[in-house]
Amino acid sequence: MAQGIAETRLSVTIWLRRIGLVVGLLGLGALYGWALRGVEFDLFSVFKYGGKFFELLGRMYPPDFSPLPNLVRPLLQTLQMATLGTFIGALMALPLVVFGSQLVVRSAVIYWPVRTVLNVMRTIPDLLYAVLFVAAMGFGPAAGVGALSFFACGIIAKLTSESADNINPKPIEAVEAVGAGKLQVIRYAVLPQLIPAYIDHVIYVFELNVRVSAVMGYVGAGGIGMQLTTAMEWRNYPQVLTIALLIFALVLVIDLLANRIRDAFVQGIAWPRPLRFLGLGALVALITWAFISLEIDVDRLIRGVDYFRNLVWAIITEPATEYLGLAIQRMVQSVQIALVGTTISFLISVPLGFLASRRHVGMPVVFAVGMKQIPNVIRAFPELILAIFFIATFGPGPLAGVLAIAIHSVGTLGKFNAEIVEKIRKEPVEALQSSGASRLQIFRYAVLPQVLPEFLALFIYRFEISVRAASVLGIVGAGGIGSLINEAQSYRAWDIVGICLVVIIPTVMVIDFLSARIRKKLIEG
């Protein structure tokens, strides 16, 4: 009897689970149907006009190197902006890290406000900072440095305080056990663990900043992006290619250097003393050089602070509420662009991840190494440049944004997917081999269960980043709330820019929060 009841209960749960699955699949279908409509995505036009993309590339070839002498200075300026922005951002991040984690001050009165500031800073996308700083300080590299500093500060502070939360408590206990004071504990147990992480994050953000710095000129914040915009507007395609190649080369060189330095830090390779001083000297020289040649004057800084005070004041006292509906509508489109773009990227990156990893596929090593370079090359092209190219192909609108995100995200998703596949534990694979399972069965039961949750978690994380990107791609005409910001900016309607901020910040925060919850669930089960 009891057996019978147990069985009925079991079959009921099975049915409930099946119904849940069907409902979930229908919901997912509806979500994507809605998103695809929202971004005006149709495969027909992708294929119909896709050829034009290559036509465009054809018109760019051969690149026109004659303006090269005039491009050296903007290129250097791009690098200077990135350097200075990262440096200032890294300094600004320090107090936020110290007071934003519970290492030093355990009082919630300090901890929570700092964390909130940090979270708000992190929600604002790179180019939106640029728009705001250009509005505040006028055109030129000074605005770029300001924007990059804040952008860098948000990420560095966030990543480092996460590292601080995950610090190994055992050394702390050991140092406390010998009777050390609080500051001694920080000096001997916390900092030795935290400083490598901090430096690692600073280097990572520097890489990001070089990419952002290269396109900031589009909104007038200095750097080589200005030249790119001009060339694009004049339809001087050979020159566009030259500038794109220059940016590509700069990013590649910086990535390469950064990787070398990071590896040295991570592996704790002790540099010989003279080399260390040389490196430090070069760094100081670079920052000083950047500082002097960018000619940042204090008056404009003060004016900038004034502007921000007015902006915040305007948002609070006289918000442009009549634009709230429109802003929300465009923000929804931005989220749709991010969703569709990231999904397409995911569909490309999963097979790429398997092909680019040397294990479990049995591909020749040369092939895998070749596949691995695809994401590296893609990553060197900023989203914005891709978006500009796609707008030239498909016309302005959300489709260009979708494609820009879809292609650019392959850079990170493909790279990390390959790393996930390479990290697979081989023990379960052997267990299945030893029981006589076939290759497909091994894939289904030993490989897929290990990689799929990680793939999905990575996808969702990338979606977070794509939402930020999608909310500024409109500045160049690729749909979403960025288009509203662009219009408002050209009419100097700062109250509308304000209302856009009011919409973007909470949306990104909610998406970040949900994403973190889902990822945690996926990974920990």
């Binding site: 023990e427 052997e430 267990a431 299945l432 030893s434 399972a437 497909l440 069965q441 039961y445 089960g525």
Partner: protein, 283 residues
């Protein structure tokens, strides 16, 4: 030092006192097995090993780490090839030449050999039941298995196997990651039982477990061997467990068999000195 005479190339003896064990044909026949891991410094992990294992035997392979125990077991089902090992010699399992088997034949062979790993090798993210069902993959249709639709009777068998090794029904739906080490190893054994194995190979199955759990798990192996007569070969480095559970003990040192005797014929003290001792008598 008198042992030295016994150690090289000890030829396996027939144990006529083993009642109820068929002596006619060995289930596993190993001749001149040499395994080399190539590389800049090639390592000869096994050196000219010959062995006969008879149906129903419970064999413990003893030796320090690096003596070639794992390589021996991993050569039998050719798992060692995953580590690019070169396997030379002859291995006959149930009359089939293992080293000459095609991929398909190898899969068939492997499906009759249950393998148990030191690190359990469960798929952490899959439920306990699915981890057990994995043992039946070789005999479930490809499409069914890819869709995860296992036959009812296999599910029933998996549940029985789990209960038998001491994982109660309510835990069958848990993710394997939530189990303790001892429980994971029980799942590993249940997975092997699903294969209806003719031979069980266990590579240091209790090395990662505490002494009490280790005994519990060793008792499971013992019971399976006694109840169903499944031939079992277990690698152990712990002399206490070796003497407690082994019925026939094979001593490995430096990739060679230096001992092959029933437990009753072994002088424990000299054995320990010879197998685990640091004296250079072996070389």
């Amino acid at each position: 030092m008198g042992l030295e005479a016994l150690s090289p190339f000890c030829i396996p003896l027939l144990y006529s006192f083993k009642i109820g064990v068929s002596m006619a044909t060995p289930i596993l026949r190993i001749r001149n097995l040499t395994v080399i891991y190539p590389g800049v410094h090639p390592v000869k992990a096994l050196d000219n090993v010959s062995l006969d294992i008879y149906p129903g035997e419970f064999v413990v392979v003893a030796g320090v780490s690096g003596s070639g125990k794992s390589t021996l077991l991993r050569a039998i089902n050719r798992l060692a090839e995953n580590d690019h090992a070169r396997i030379e010699g002859e291995i006959y399992f149930d009359g089939v030449n293992v080293l000459k088997a095609s991929r398909r034949q190898l899969r068939e062979l492997r499906s009759h050999i249950g393998f148990i790993f030191q690190e359990y090798n469960v798929v952490e993210r899959l439920p306990v039941l699915t981890n057990t069902l994995v043992g039946s993959l070789a005999h479930v249709g490809l499409l069914r298995s890819l869709l995860g639709r296992f036959p009812r009777e296999q599910i029933e068998r998996a549940r029985q196997a789990l209960v038998r090794v001491g994982i109660p029904q309510p835990r069958h739906g848990d993710r394997a990651a939530r189990l303790s080490g001892g429980q994971k190893q029980r799942v590993g054994i249940a997975r092997a039982l699903m294969q209806k194995p003719k031979l069980i190979l266990a590579d240091e199955p209790v090395a990662s477990l505490d002494p009490i759990t280790a005994n519990v798990v060793m008792n499971i192996f013992k019971k399976i061997n006694e109840d169903e007569g499944i031939t079992t070969i277990i690698n152990l480095h712990d002399p206490v467990l070796t003497f407690k559970y082994g019925k026939r003990i094979i001593g490995l040192k430096g990739g060679r068999i230096i001992y092959d005797k029933p437990i009753s014929a072994i002088n424990r003290e000299t054995f320990e000195e010879d197998i685990y001792g640091t004296g250079d008598s072996g070389d």
